[in-house]
Every structure is written in C-alpha cells, then in structure tokens.
Amino acid sequence: MKVAYWPGCVSRGFTPELHGSMAKVAPLLDIELVQLDRAACCGAGVIAEHNQELADTLNARTFALAQQVQGAELMMNICSTCQGAQSECQERLDASGDYRSQINANLADEGLSYERGLTNKNLLWLLVEEIGLDTLRAKVKRPLSGLRVGPFYGCYIVRPVDRLGIDSERPRDRYMHMVIEALGGTVIDYAGVYKCCGFPIITMNMDASLKMAGRHVGDAIDAHADCLVVPCPLCHLNLDLQQPLAAKQVGRELGLPILHLPQLLGLALGLDPKDLGMSKHVVKPTSVIDWSASVVAGAPA
C-alpha cells in the first residue's frame, strides 16, 4: 500500500535508527513510503501550548500535503507524539467548518487546503488495521521465540481514548501486545506499560523526568523483560539515551535495551540488527540478545 509518510523530526535527528529501520522494513511489508519532505514539525503539543492557531495551521499544511500525494491511501507516522499532537489539531479542524476555513486561509498563499477527513495512522495502527496480524505472522522469518518484550505505549498514542478512536472495536491500546505475539515474542506485563516516559519535562524538572524513566525501566527489569519496545522516538530518548542518567537518579543498575517498533519488526522479518541501527543505541541490544536463527535472550555479553 502507498502511504504519505510523515517521519517527524526526532526520527531524523537524535534517533536516526528509527527512520532508517522504517525504510528497511517498509518494502518487506509492502508499504510504499512517499515522504512528506516539505512538511514542518507537528509542534509536539508545545507549539499548540504557545499558540493553537499556529500549531493547527502547521499541521493542516502537513495534512494538505499528504492529501496531494497521488494514490496514497492514508498518511502514516512513526511517532506517537506526532500522532497525538496531529490528532488533536485534526479534531478541531474536522469539528468546525468555520474554523477549518480560517486555518485554510492561512495556507492560501501556497495554494494548499486541508479537506476534512484525512486518515492519519501510526505504524502500529496501520500494522494491525491495514496489513493485518495474519499477514504479518506469515512474513516472520526469524520468530522472536523466547524473547520477553515489554510494550511501552507512552501517552500520546493511548490517551485521550475518544480522540484516538480507541474502543472495543479498535483496541489500539493492546496493539503492541498483539504485534509482539504475532512476531513470536512473549509479552511482559509490568507497571509502566501505559505510563509517561518523562521526556516532556526533561528541561523543566530533570530529576522527576529521569525518575519516571528509571522507574519504568526498573519495573520492566523486575518483571524479567529482555527489552522494551516503543512507538515513540521521544520515549526512546528518555528510556535509552538518558538511561545512564536515569539509573543514577533511581539508584540502581539498569541496562535494558529499548527497541523502536520498526526495529522489532525488522528483526522478526529477518533483517540484520546492524542494518536496523541497533548499534546506535546507548544501551546496546546486541549484548543481551542472540540474533542467529531466532531472536532469543540470554546471549553472553
């Protein structure tokens, strides 16, 4: 399927392995990515906090660019924060014709206009709802047998439930559980599954922010997880990049690998861990996982 692809900022900045692994995984899942190179940052809720109209206009511009991609079935992102921030803007734009006209007037100079009703899905939603778990299962070349994976959903992709369209028909708050199982892994339940990684307050209250990250990683270790998987690069920054500082903050050793969703997919689909950018992580996943025939935990460091 062809999608208008919004990678976001951080996947091309501080987590280049996310954007890179998505590019490797897409052809294996028959996803054609048409990248929205012209679009600007979603604002991550911060621009909306500064000026709602500004955030809504920037995102309406992105949506309008996505709607111009010929043959694209929908817009896809790989960042929960983008999903959450864009869903919030889209909720307002779709709710009021007058407001939408006013925002579209801001785009008139470029000849752009957002039409109500764009479908914008995170890769996680697209996997389950468009590709399907049966298809995904059939594509697995290297099952994640014995790998104990903790899903870390974070906030923006599971709350608020109404805005994100989560209900019993579309249990999007269980999709990571389902995907991990479809790939042959074992789901680990732990206290932090739906909690906040702490990243949004890293500059305002670094101690609290790192304590959040450290606590969730520690809880996952206590539940015997081999790794966590995240649908959001900002969660990855706090849980992986900041893990050495988080360990200090909570006063215990951590060292739990954190994988991006496309990396977990790529491993199961048979890709080389290095090609998926695994060596770029601060907590090196290659030291705890044996990649040979099946992905299993417990390899010697």
Binding site: F14, T119, I201
Partner: protein
C-alpha cells in the same frame, strides 16, 4: 439479573493488618452503578465497608474510586462498563488477545463480571475506599488561592462580565472536586509536591476571570513553583479520568499560554524558555533542532544560549548520555551543530504562517467543550479518525479566546458591556 463479583480492597491503617481483597457476589442490573453494588454489600452483608458518598447523581464528587484500575465516580459508572474495563492497565477488556498463557498478562483469565474496586491513588487511605482528600487534594486547591481577588475600586453595583468570558471559564467551573484526576496524575505519582491537575484547573478558573485583580501574580506563582504548572508531562490521564469533561491538562496548557505569551513570565524552571526556544527553532528550521533545545531552555533562546553557565552545567551533567550517543553515531557532531532543515521555499512558507498568525492582535482559539462539533456528514474516506463529541454545546463556530491578550472586562464604570453580555454577580 446478572451477577457481578466485586473485589473490594479493604484496609484499616489502625488495625495493623495488611490490605486485603474482600470478595462479594452481587446480583444487580447492568445499568446499576458500582456504588449501588457497594451500598448493597454494605447494607446486606458487611456494614463495615468504608465508602464516602452522598448525592449518588455525580454532583457531590464524594465517591471517587478506582474501578478495574481506572478512576471515576462509583455512582455514575455502570456495572457493565466497569466490568468491561481491563484489570490494572489499559482501557480494553483483557480478552486474551496479545496476552500469553504464562499468566504474565493480567486480565487474560479474569472473567468479565469481575470489578476490582480500590481507593483512589496519590492520596493516603483513611479506611477501605475512603482517601484523605484533605492531605492532598484540598491542600493543593488551597495552594492556588481559590477565590476571587476583587479589582479595586469595587463597583457599587454588580460586576458585568461579558458572556464570552464566563463561557471561557465554564469548563473549569464544571469541576466537582472528586479527585479522580489527582488519583492518576503521573507527574504527582513521581513528585507528590506537584500542584496537580485539579488545583491548576482551579487556578485557570480565576486567571480566566476578568473580575480577578491578580492574574499576573497567580501565573507567576505557579510558574515559579518548582512543582508548578511546568511539571505537567502531557500524559492526558486527567483528561480521561475526569467525569465532568474539565480536561485539566488543557487548562494547564492555557495557563502556560497566558504566562509565557501574554505576561512574558520568565520562570526559573525553564518553562517559558523551553516553549519559546521550541517555537523559535521550528520557525528557523521548519523541524525541531533537538541539540539546540536543551541548552537554550537552560541558557536562553539564542544561539549563544549554550554559553550560559546554566546551559554548561546541564550539558556537563548530560555527558554520560552525550558521549555514548556521539561515539555510537546516534548523534553526529555536524547534526548537533547545524540541525536539519526543510527546503528554503517551504521554510519561507512556514515563516509566513508564523508572521501572519503571531501578528494577530488577538489569538484565535477553538475550544470544543464550548463550541461543540459541527453537524456535518461523516467524511467519505474509510477509517477516518473519529472526533469525540464535546460536552455541552453552547455556541458554534470560531471563538476568539476571550480572556487572552486583551481581556474584555471593562466593569460597569469603565465601559459599556456588549449587547451579548450577561451579568454575573461577584
């Protein structure tokens, strides 16, 4: 009538006994409330079950509890809805999907007629389902000066407040002080000192009220507090928890907007600098330049911000993260120095949008709680994201945020209220 199994968490701190689960089978209709079931148990089986309740109509805010892990009012939660919630995490029933057979996934084996009722979180338990609201919730409400500070001179007759202004604060006035948002605030879970969602929503109730004389002082107070409004992590738990649609997190964002953009309050917690730097970096690059954001948030919003001693300190503290990130090629020196940019023509278009929007004399805002949702036919594209219906629809269309930039309150002696104004007695 269906049978529900209520598992009530019992605890008496004075007993010396650890908390335990007390199980009772209750026959009641699906649309009976969880409170109905608790009261039935108390009346017919065990009179010692501790629960605080009064109106039973979602008005008094007394019966806040956690039901299958989610906070809410026991009196307005139907038994069937409570039972359909998962156990512990998430919002969907644990029907075995994606859960393994080794028992690691809570909810896979739990029958759907089980409702675990626990006291709310983030507050000490007095007994069973009764938490100490005084120790946490009310203390924090008092922290934000929860009353109007009159403008002087006080007029002889009532203050006249324009209708738009009253509508603007209606959402926060819908709060019934039940504490459900406090229960599940993830920032407060880590930092009990955090002022928290209910009290900050209360703060907006007065910051948004044109009759109040101390908007700036209020904003400065909660901006400068090291556990103040900038410690909200945007986790949205309070929005989902609130039984009245107050959306405390949205009120916190409005407080920040008023403090940073209108009052230009530069706080010691880096809140204003972080927001200002983020917005500036996206204007200058089109994309977020992450390597600049951290030092600018500490050292000031310019390229020179990184040379400020505060920026130096935080960069030094972050070395255990920065060094491996650079060594492993996660972050390149070039990337950190120059960031990434969209094409010049697109950047020009983005900057034009900035000029246009930021140049307006008054910000344009749409609050769906106030405006409701247009009655348009559903979009034709399949799988289009649904829009939630907001609370009571009172007006429609675009609303210019009334209390921002140019508060419209004139007072009876200072100006004539507009025709659409409504009187509100102070």
């Amino acid at each position: 009538m269906p049978e529900y199994l209520l598992k009530i968490r019992r605890y008496d701190p004075h007993s010396g006994r650890a908390a335990y689960w007390d199980e009772h089978a209750v026959e009641l209709g699906e649309r009976n409330s969880v409170l109905d079931a608790i009261l039935k148990i108390r009346d017919e089986v065990d009179g010692s079950v501790g629960i605080r309740c009064s109106c039973q109509q979602a008005i008094c805010g007394s019966c806040g509890v956690r039901m299958n892990g989610k906070p809410g009012l026991a009196c307005n939660t139907h038994l069937e809805d409570a039972a359909a919630r998962p156990h512990g995490t998430g919002w969907n029933p644990g029907d075995g999907v994606g859960l393994t057979a080794d028992g690691s996934g809570r909810g896979d084996t739990t029958p759907s007629n089980v409702i675990e009722v626990e006291p709310m979180g983030n507050m000490p338990v007095i007994r069973d389902l009764i938490v100490d609201m005084d120790a946490v919730h009310w203390k924090k409400i008092q922290r934000v000066t929860p009353y109007l500070i009159n403008k002087e001179p006080i007029p002889e007759r009532e203050y006249i407040v324009p209708h738009e202004n009253m509508v603007d604060v209606t959402q926060t006035m819908a709060c019934i002080q039940c504490g459900a948002c406090v229960s599940d605030c993830l920032s407060m879970e880590i930092d009990p000192g955090f002022i928290g969602p209910a009290a900050l929503a209360k703060a907006y109730r007065f910051v948004g009220d044109p009759r109040d004389a101390e908007h700036r002082e209020r904003l400065q107070d909660i901006a400068e507090d090291p556990h103040g409004m900038y410690d909200c992590t945007h986790c949205f738990n309070c929005i989902d928890a609130c039984p009245k649609g107050v959306a405390p997190m949205s009120q916190i964002m409005r407080l920040r907007r008023r403090a940073g953009s209108d009052e230009k309050i530069v706080d010691r917690n880096n809140g204003e600098r972080h927001e200002d730097s983020f917005v500036t970096l996206v204007r200058d690059y089109g994309l977020l330049h992450e390597a600049e954001l951290l030092p600018r948030s500490f050292g000031g919003n310019s390229w020179f911000g990184k040379f400020h001693p505060d920026a130096g300190k935080v960069l030094l503290k972050s070395l255990p993260s920065i060094i491996p990130a650079v060594l492993k090629g996660k972050v390149s020196i070039k990337g950190a120095m120059f960031g990434h940019k969209i094409d010049q023509s697109d950047l020009g278009a983005v900057q034009k949008i900035y000029s246009k929007v930021e140049g307006r004399p008054q910000r344009v805002e749409l609050n769906l709680y106030v405006s409701g949702v247009d009655d348009e036919p559903p979009p034709s594209e399949p799988g289009a994201s649904s829009t939630s219906t907001a609370g009571d629809a009172q007006t429609s269309g675009v609303a210019a945020a009334p209390a921002d930039k140019s508060p419209t309150f004139g007072g009876p002696e200072e100006g004539t209220p507009s025709e659409s104004s409504e009187s509100e007695s102070a």
